[in-house]
Amino acid sequence: MGVRPQVLEGIGAGYSHAVIVVLGDQGYPVSVATAFEVDVARGVVRLDPPAGMEAMLLEGRDVNVIFSHIRPLPEAGYDERRYVSVWGPLDRGTDGRLELTPEESQSWDESKVPFFQYSEITVPQAHRYLDALSGRLGRRVRPRLAFFWLALRTTRAPFLTATVIPVLLGVVAAARAGGWSLGLAALTLVGAAFIHLALNVANDVFDTMSGADPANTRPTQFSGGSRVIHYGLVSLPGAAMVSAAFYLGGIAIGLYLAWLRGFWPLFWLGVAGVIISLVYTAPPLRLVHRGVGEIAVGLGFGPIMLLGSYYVQAQRFSLEALWLSLPVGILIALVLYVNEIPDRESDAEAGKRTLPVRWSKEAVIRGFVWSTAAAYALIGMGAALRILPWPTLIALATIPLAVRVTRGIRESYEDPYALMPTMAANIKLHLFTGLLLFAGYLVSIAI
């Protein structure tokens, strides 16, 4: 058994000195630095013999040798963290130098495995440690977060913009058509938000059960789920209860609004919304596993939410509200679509065959370009056909942002961490386009 030549080449190229470690007398390790050179062809590391250590550095003895590097940064600490630790027997070369034949190695280089990924790979070790610690202390030891942060992380509340936009647009479209109620709008927003938070937590429950979250070692701020269950911050039953509580709250508010504003249309919209949100990841349908999760999200956070919000205010449906919901639905589906790009390997492993899992890079980019073009075309055509008020054309101002997102996808497709700014920009694309549509409606009401 030996280490790969690449390991030896990496040692030769990247480190200033070696540190030889052996067990000394009384069982304490002894470490001593020395100069070295690597002979890749022979698979050995040649080490200058340190003075005064002859008794410990005997021929044939197994030693540990570590090569370590950082670059100090006075304002921050340091970066360029990397190390290689190797184990193997020592021999004496013909020139008197020591020769180590590495048989095993362990290493980390943050330029190759980013720290966040390194920290995900080792999550099982953290659980093993906490289990052992719990056994030793006789009480359950869990990782913790302050309640506010735990709630924020568990529910992924910052993604609520996906709910706020369609609800606001439904209200403002109804206001332009006749009138609106602040109380009903607020209640609609809270009810829709509850369903959204329920969906977020349910998604984590089912992704943990299916193995999609544990398999993902490259999650980001925008992808890979909340991971609170995977990290042990929240138990699976606890998360299921949180999700159920939000569903119950959202459904209760929905039923109340339906009772107030005309039961059956809102009832059926609500039923559709709740079912879509559940079967999105829940077996047996698991829409997201079948390549239709993006459409489900587009429907839920587009037509269903916007038409529901509109109906609560206006007590009728309209072509205008339906039309308005389409670009919003497309853009939110694209948020999911882009966020699925970094997850595609782990998703594939868990059988979650999203569109980025099924499609090539070029097909995914084409899908994004054509979908955003369709969203903008719907806004333009809606105004041209006078279905939407003409000031909503201001939403086309986000086209440069869409171009930037397209470029970002192309450039950072293979690197989840480099893709993070693009994922953030894509969320802004939905948010800003929605807010500009909202502003267009306000202008049309004012003039």
Binding site: S16, A33, A51, I70, A126, Y129, L130, R144, W149
Partner: protein, 171 residues
């Protein structure tokens, strides 16, 4: 002046990285780069539960060593020495969420960006569940000017470490 020879304390206070060696149950040395911290009596290291095998090894065998060998890994002048400190380690992890936090100010002093990350511990919660390693020094090897082609000076640290400067030098 603390418990260790002044030049060694200076190195401990300024070094940004050390090679920390633990011994596995099979008697094999296992070494990782870590950041050494010193309070004048005891040397501290700390490890996330994500990288906690070393903590398990210490529980099985407390004999460890801390080598400071990268003379350029400081925020100031290069270190004038290389040192290896052998000692007995204890892990404090009764509350992995909080126990280690007592050495946070010393960590931030060497790695200022940690303060920002610590405030955002929600981003990487398991990283901030940590074990604190306390090392009582027993013996110190000192290589002046970092030259290991010359034998080290060896400094035995008296068992009653608390006595400042307690120890004798050989080698």
């Amino acid at each position: 002046m603390g418990a260790l020879p002044e030049p060694v304390e200076k190195v401990l206070n300024e070094a940004l990285v050390c090679e920390f060696t633990v011994v596995s149950r099979e008697g094999r040395p296992i070494t990782h780069p870590m950041i050494p911290l010193y309070d004048g009596d005891v040397i501290y290291l700390h490890s996330s539960i994500l990288f906690s095998k070393k903590l398990e090894h210490i529980r099985a065998n407390p004999k460890v060593s801390i080598a400071i060998t990268d003379q350029g890994a400081t925020h100031g002048e290069p270190l004038p020495l290389r040192v290896t400190i052998q000692g007995d380690a204890t892990v404090h992890d009764e509350d992995p969420h909080h126990t280690w936090e007592r050495i946070l100010p010393r960590w931030i002093a060497k790695e200022p960006i940690v303060e920002k990350f610590y405030k955002m511990r929600v981003a990487l919660p398991l990283f901030w569940e940590r074990g604190l390693i306390e090392v009582i020094p027993r013996r110190i090897f000192v290589w002046d000017e970092g030259r290991t082609d010359r034998p080290p000076r060896v400094h035995e640290v008296a068992p009653q470490l608390a006595a400042p400067g307690g120890g004798s030098e050989t080698g």
